[in-house]
């Protein structure tokens, strides 16, 4: 594996909520003291349930959001201490693919008008002719052929799969070394998903891009990051990390175990043979009122006193594995 590309160190992000109308202003901790790194060309899947902080973490890694505390190093340099031209270079290197391609593509602009500004801005194309050629080349790369048929069209005329291909083309157009794909296939139908994932994997290999792949779907994470690692997040913390297949087949943290026991599987015998997990409670603690100690304690069937008092940190647990649990690490 290559050298470290992105190094997230003890990063936290607080958002303030409420304000005058709801009385006292409070803050919520969306990302709580998280550390991980991504190597050049590596695939890392970030999974967890809705609201656990995946997108926030992704935006922090991209330098779109500034952390409340902690640092993010890109090739060894703190991204919030870069000078202007270095920061611009970092932003070119780090690109995002959103869940909803409508967010990326302006409906009032043709595909060409959406693809060309970054090409010009980062001087990847020097004139209109080069820009048109480069845009055509990109569309071919994402399987939209003939490109002339697409460049002059507006997004509304495209299907979801085609739009997501354009979003991918736009992200890779500036030769990034790091891509954050945030639920990039969640809006697509099952039959289209694999096609887009394969395309992304193919381009990733071709250009040696690292990828932080955010999803709530373990099956999709497993497929996409099969040669990489997986990070499991719960209420702002990473609670388990390891090589994808190892974590999936042999989860260690009680939360990962329970989640994998509950994921829907397209197999009636397997689905029905699995019992209900013995959770202490179904209710997820409120993000504004986090329990002290382990955040999973209120639901965890294995918790003991220490879990309610002390926050477990990620500790090595077997080969290349990290787990944050007092009982199982």
């Amino acid at each position: 594996m290559g050298s470290v590309l992105i190094d997230v160190k003890d990063v936290s992000k607080f958002f303030s909520i409420g304000g005058r109308l709801f009385g006292k202003k409070r803050s919520v901790c969306a990302v709580d003291n998280v550390s991980f790194c991504i190597n050049e060309g590596e695939t890392v899947a970030l999974v967890g349930e809705s609201g656990c902080g995946k997108s926030t973490l992704g935006r922090l890694a991209l330098g779109v959001l500034q952390p409340t505390s902690g640092k993010i190093l890109f090739r060894g340099k703190d991204i919030w201490r870069l000078n202007r031209s270095e920061f611009k270079e970092f932003r070119r290197n780090a690109q995002i693919i959103h869940q909803d391609p409508y967010d990326t593509l302006n409906p009032m602009r043709t595909i060409y008008q959406s693809l060309s500004p970054p090409l010009m801005h980062y001087k990847i194309a020097r004139n209109r002719r080069e820009c048109w050629e480069k845009a055509s080349e990109l569309l071919k790369m994402v399987g939209l052929v003939p490109p002339e048929d697409f460049l002059q069209r507006y997004p509304a005329r495209l299907s979801g799969g085609q739009m997501q291909r354009i979003a991918i083309a736009r992200a890779i157009s500036v030769n990034p070394s790091f891509i954050v794909a945030d639920e990039a296939v969640s809006m697509l139908d099952a039959s289209l998903r694999i096609e887009i994932l394969d395309l992304l994997l193919d381009l990733k290999r071709k250009f040696n891009m690292a990828c932080l792949f955010i999803t709530h779907d373990f099956g999709v994470a497993r497929y996409f990051a099969r040669d990489g690692r997986i990070l499991v997040m719960y209420l702002g913390s990473i609670i388990e990390e390891g090589p994808t297949e190892d974590v999936i087949l042999d989860p260690i943290h009680p939360y990962t175990k329970i989640l994998l026991d509950c994921v829907p599987v397209p197999n009636p015998e397997v689905a029905r043979s699995r019992g209900l997990p013995h959770l202490k409670s179904l209710e997820v603690p409120s993000i504004t009122n986090m329990p002290p100690g382990c955040k999973f304690y209120t639901r965890c069937p294995y918790g003991e006193d220490i879990c309610s008092q002390k926050v477990p940190t990620l500790k090595p647990s077997g080969k290349d594995r990290l787990v944050a649990c007092h009982m199982f690490s």
Partner: protein
């Protein structure tokens, strides 16, 4: 022989759209047996919700039922009088709409919702409604004492979904239609909800139509599965047979396109070809442009759904009546 609760024959529903006519349900035949959980699956926009609503003769104003009929316990739904239809919709059938959790009135407590639902359709006393609500809320595993007094915003997504399920059972319907009931729930809550539905089904013997685009959900709850593709039902069969021995090329391809999170991953393949435009659907078999077995016949003739033996129904020219 199992008895049919619902029999749908040749049902066609169309909408007027700016580009022309959109046929959302295309000559569908479907039987729902008494006491079963039938899973209706298919990708976004294939017509699942439109079909479900047509069963109770409900179509958006820009649409209409073009043809066919629906029999409920042998009675023709489309020729019922207004009064009978109203009764049928509330007394015999309950629908949990797609996104129903968001339809709860924010200024009414759970119990007020219960009272409204009952009184809108039959005479009853408050005590009687309280007793029924209490039992139902307990059946969906909630603390009835507390929950009946709560406002919708005081409930979590999973609690709301369970409250709505309890509400839908208030008038003891014979038939419950659930349209994507779990799509807004997190994984753990979803699992509990699916189990709960099976428990309720076992306790009450109610017939259910469970609509979802998530094959994992129907694998867990359904007895039989109907697969829909572009306004057509293309395969019907026992849940295990559909998953382990799919007959229609689309069903087979769909199952191969879902990576499993547990166990062996198996071979994963995308379904090739473009998603068709519902306003200008392909000729013949609607799946032919994406089908690896497509022949000339498939391009010209629409295959009708036939019984190929063993309770298996398939709409594909590769199969003959069995």
């Amino acid at each position: 022989m199992t008895e049919n609760l619902v029999s749908i024959r040749g049902l066609t529903v169309e909408f007027r759209v700016p580009r022309g006519i959109l046929r959302a349900v295309d000559e569908v035949d479907l039987d729902i047996c008494k006491g079963e959980i039938l899973g209706l699956v298919g990708e976004s926009g294939c017509g699942k919700s439109v079909l479900a609503h047509a069963i109770i003769k409900q179509v958006d104003p820009n649409g209409y039922i073009k043809g066919g009929k629906v029999l409920f316990e042998g009675k023709d739904v489309f020729s019922m009088s207004e009064e009978d239809l109203r009764r049928f919709r509330w007394k015999d059938v309950a629908i949990i709409f797609q996104g129903a959790q968001n339809a709860l009135n924010p200024v009414m407590r759970v119990f007020d919702h219960m009272i409204d639902t009952v009184l809108a359709h039959e005479k009853s006393s408050k005590e009687e409604i309280l007793k029924r609500s209490f039992d139902l809320i307990k059946m969906v595993r909630l603390d009835a004492d507390r929950v009946l007094k709560l406002y919708p915003h005081e409930l979590s997504g999973g609690m709301k979904q369970r409250v709505i399920s309890a509400m839908s059972l208030l008038l003891s319907p014979k038939f419950l239609i659930l349209d994507e009931p779990t799509s807004s729930l997190d994984v753990l809550t979803q699992k509990y909800f699916l189990r709960l539905m099976r428990d309720i089904h076992e306790k009450t013997g109610i017939t259910m139509l469970f609509i979802t685009h998530d094959l994992g959900c129907v694998a867990e709850v359904a007895d039989r599965i109907a697969v829909m593709y572009l306004a057509n039902i293309i395969e019907i069969g026992d849940v295990k047979e559909i998953f382990y021995d799919p007959k229609h090329p689309y069903t087979a391809a769909l199952i191969k396109s879902i990576p499993s999170a547990i166990g062996k991953m198996g071979e994963i393949k995308p379904i090739p070809g473009p998603i068709p435009d519902p306003v200008f659907p392909p000729s013949g078999c609607r799946f032919h442009p994406r089908c690896q077995y497509a022949s000339d016949k498939c391009r010209k003739e629409r295959p009708s759904i036939i019984n190929i033996g063993g309770g298996r129904l398939v709409a594909c020219h590769l199969y003959t009546q069995g």
